[in-house]
Symmetry: C2
Subunit: 215 residues, 2 copies
Amino acid sequence: MTDERRKFKRESAEARKEALILATLELVAENGVRGATVRGIAERADVTQGLIRHYFSSKEELITAAYEHHMTFMSDQTFAPASGVQGSALARLTAFVTASLTPPVVDPRAIALWASFLNKVQQDPQMKATHERTYAYFRDQLQALITAALEEAGRPAPPARLRQLAIACNALIDGLWLEGGALPDAFAPGELEEIGRQSVAAMTGLNLEQGAETS
Amino acid sequence: MTDERRKFKRESAEARKEALILATLELVAENGVRGATVRGIAERADVTQGLIRHYFSSKEELITAAYEHHMTFMSDQTFAPASGVQGSALARLTAFVTASLTPPVVDPRAIALWASFLNKVQQDPQMKATHERTYAYFRDQLQALITAALEEAGRPAPPARLRQLAIACNALIDGLWLEGGALPDAFAPGELEEIGRQSVAAMTGLNLEQGAETS
DNA sequence: CGCGTAATTATGCAAGCGTATAATTTCTCT
DNA sequence: AGAGAAATTATACGCTTGCATAATTACGCG
């Protein structure tokens, strides 16, 4: 009954990679990119560190894969609800704002990941490209929704004005997202979304109402 | 002409501490807290690493001091312009919004520092206290300015409404601050402040105009 | 059922980390 | 000018890190 060699079970490459990526995201959120050590990740994923090198040629590659995974998840969670709405452009805009300010998009862990990755995103070209693509997509979608909703209301606006509105609404959503994630207990349930809808309404002159969902 | 012992000049404790803190902030902004190594900081401050231990009992203490220094700087830069305005509450609110969206408050390095420190801020009680104090002060000042400006305009609002307005305006400023710092070339000079003033105006119903400064 | 292959573990290495402490230099004071 | 004290440098230690490679185990396939 002394120290025996560790038992293990074989898993598919996809399952192992995903487990390693999820463990990586946990540790990056907790301790930053440099604090997420290969040994720590292996322990969290319940394997030994050597296995990481078997699936990822370096820690750098694992970090990049984890970032990509996270950004895809965030993007999906943000856009899925609005794309399910069949009604007016206004309803789609409302759903978009609401989804951006509701869990799991609003989440302390998402904020921590955003902050932890920022340095690396600005230095690594591949991560920078992923970031800018996701960000531009978000803002373009928002601007398109605002444009459509204004036209729908019979109040079209010139491109310069639409650009400013999109920047402002984007900033508002980002700021509320940040506050909600950083201080989860500072807001009552639904308060964040309500403030978001009211503020976007005030800035655009549109009337965003809740619960305009259609399946 | 071989390796001689390094020449040096004595400096005052305050000067050395400040130099070490500034070097620390540089490296933290570039590489994160864990990436800011004692050796790297010493090199950046043009001293040897042993000197750091002479002024700070640990790296932890140096990091904390650097964070405190940075937060004080940011707070000063944000509040100084508005406190110099003698005119109406509306003018002070305008100056406050403008200062929050102008360099050196809006700065890529400030964003990087904010992100780099976030993890440690959430774990270290002392840094957490510093952060929450600064943040609460910012939001309280903003809410007070909005309240005063609304009363001044003969349009007082109930506390719940004032709270929502402060949260929304705070989020907008945070978001614009983030975008301006993360994408410095995406905005024309003065554009960020203009969007900020217009959006706060739309949300509050007040008319924020530029250039209402009084010395 | 046993054999081969690939998944997984185990071990080791060189570099960098924060910290501790001894050796030396600079400056002030008389 | 010279001595004492403090600032600064130099060196070393133990630990952790990412990465490499050898040793073993699990499992599909004949």
